[in-house]
């Protein structure tokens, strides 16, 4: 019985992951693909890759923050520098951000745990959505 429940739990988790990944792919195509490219490989010297990126694979807090706030610091990413700025995407919902990060962490050769809406919400805090950046869907 315990084994059966465990099996159901595993199935539910995997199913949830693939559902999140599928939703996240739609967000990626609309919001991220133009810079990070269809293969998650980025653009040399301009837009960093997401494929096998140490930042994407390890620290959830970091990548959630980047999506919420954007990024304009000149810091090395896996020993390379990238020149373009990334605008804030705080107009996306917690679920959309969780889904797209889950997609990115499980695509392009990446394999990692899902990001949840609760994790995004915790980092976003009580910050209001920027109304000037609300996109028509």
């Amino acid at each position: 019985m315990a084994l059966f429940s465990f099996g159901i739990m595993l199935w539910a988790q995997t199913n949830n992951l693939s559902v999140s990944v599928a939703r996240g792919e739609a967000v990626y195509k609309k919001e991220c693909l133009s810079c990070h490219q269809v293969d998650g490989g980025g653009v040399p010297h301009m837009n960093p890759p997401l494929a096998q990126s140490s930042n994407v694979l390890k620290d959830k807090q970091k990548i959630i923050t980047v999506v919420l706030k954007g990024m304009s610091d000149r810091i090395p990413l896996d020993d390379e520098y990238y020149s373009n700025v990334m605008a804030s995407h705080s107009y996306l919902t917690d679920q959309q951000i969780a889904d797209v990060l889950t997609y990115v962490r499980n695509s392009f050769g990446n394999k990692a745990t899902a990001v949840t809406a609760a994790e995004v919400k915790a980092i976003r805090g009580p910050v209001k959505k920027t109304t000037s950046q609300v996109k028509k869907s």
Partner: protein, 428 residues
């Protein structure tokens, strides 16, 4: 005399042993595939003279046939490479380096080698054989230029009047309040233009010049990586990298196809005081109009009310090709049609996504009397190594710099793999 029939076993052993010796030749990285994998017009050939050394940006070839090249990542601690082919087969076999700064710009004029970092310009005195006399002690002629990550490279060109022209690219896509932000308005007036987004002119022989000592020669140019002094027209020609993100930031006005084709990558001929219009306009090469940028109230259909204030492009190419090199050909090796015409190295697009990418080739524009005399054509193709580039990283080589050899051959550099190609004409 009786000829013996050679037993098959012996023939087979001989062939397999020969093959074992041949395989290392096949593995030789300098063994040329046909034309180094490039497709060229009839009569032209290409070979690789260097590969895998540095990430080569701009380069030049001295009258002695020596290459000076810039690298965007220090090669054994050096940002300027001096490359020599000693053994007579044209392949580089000696690489020396100096300078501890990376950068794009390089030029040779009146006994000096000029080179730029991302915020300064230096010059190195040369001896009669165009060798750097003291690599450790260049003169710093320009300093303090804006360097804020985006469009940071400082390409240079010199005229025949003692002036040096420096690109100061705008650290911005379209001068928005929020850079690359969806729907973010443009700043009015654009405060960047006082210090960037244009070409600045300085003296080629004065030390420690900065903005106060220079002249803003031309403005309204988002970022210029390829530029060259045209000795026929005695004027500066530049290639502008047009703005990105029409679809991403203004989806209500542009669809994916329009955003991939627009705006035009423009060639401009510059006179002092010219204004090319960035960020207020972008050029639409299909309508042949200077359009009001969406950041400033445009909707993709409206021409700029200030169109008369801004210069016309000389040639308008499709969008996002990324022109990184411009060279007016003055050699005698290529057929007459190429004399005084323009070669352009298109680095290749990324912002066309989700549509397929374009570029990754060298283009030729014929010129007569300082003006284009015909349509542009792809001259050298195949740098990407794939039929279609969908993601930029798929491209193996990306053309960046152009140089003319003393014999009139054309050199093309790639800043992905550091490959340097030499294109020659034999007529065969």
């Amino acid at each position: 005399m009786q000829t013996k029939k050679i037993p098959m076993k012996k023939v087979f052993s001989f062939l397999s042993i020969s093959f074992l010796f041949a395989v290392p030749c096949l593995a030789n990285p300098y063994a040329d595939t046909i034309n180094a994998g490039l497709s060229l017009p009839k009569g032209f050939e290409a070979s690789k003279v260097s590969d895998g050394i540095g990430r080569i940006r701009h380069l030049l070839v001295t009258p002695e046939g020596v290459i000076y090249a810039r690298t965007s990542r220090l090669y054994k601690g050096n940002g300027i490479l001096k490359m020599t082919a000693q053994n007579g087969d044209g392949k580089i076999d000696k690489v020396e380096g100096f300078s501890n700064y990376t950068g794009t710009g390089i030029a040779l004029k009146d006994g000096y080698l000029y080179a730029s970092s991302d915020d300064e310009v230096f010059r190195y005195k040369l001896n009669a054989k165009n060798e750097v006399i003291d690599a450790e002690h260049p003169e710093k002629i320009i300093t303090g230029l804006w360097n804020k990550r985006q469009h940071e490279s400082k390409s240079i060109a010199l005229d025949n009047n003692g002036n040096i022209y420096v690109n100061i690219g705008a650290p911005s896509n379209s001068c928005q309040e929020v850079d690359r932000g969806n729907g973010s308005k443009g700043r009015m007036p654009c405060p960047i233009l006082d210090s960037a987004g244009g070409i600045w002119m300085f003296k080629a022989d004065k030390l420690n010049q900065s903005y106060a000592q220079g002249v803003r020669y031309a403005t309204g140019l988002r970022n210029v990586v390829g530029l060259d002094w045209n000795t026929q027209s005695n004027s500066l020609f530049v290639m502008q990298h047009g703005r990105d993100n029409l679809l991403q930031d203004w989806p209500q006005y542009f669809d994916a196809e329009q955003s991939a084709e627009l705006p035009s990558e423009c060639m401009y001929e510059l006179k002092k005081g010219d204004n090319a219009g960035w960020p207020y306009i972008y050029y639409n090469q299909i309508l042949h109009k200077k359009m009001l940028a969406p950041e400033y109230g445009g909707d993709g259909k409206t021409e700029s009310p200030r169109a008369k204030d801004f210069i016309e492009p000389v040639v308008a190419f499709p969008g996002h090709l990324a022109p990184n090199g411009l060279l007016f050909y003055t050699g005698n090796m290529f057929p007459e049609k190429y004399r005084n015409g323009a070669f352009i190295a298109f680095h290749g697009s990324w912002n066309r996504a989700p549509m397929p990418q374009e570029g990754y080739y060298v283009v030729f524009v014929p010129f007569k009397n300082g003006k284009p005399s015909g349509k542009w054509e792809v001259f050298a193709n195949g740098f990407s190594g794939v039929k279609v580039v969908n993601a930029t990283r798929q491209a193996e080589h990306r053309p960046c710099g152009l140089a003319q050899g003393p014999d009139g051959s054309l050199y093309v550099s790639d800043d992905n793999k550091g490959t340097i190609y030499r294109i020659t004409y034999s007529g065969k």
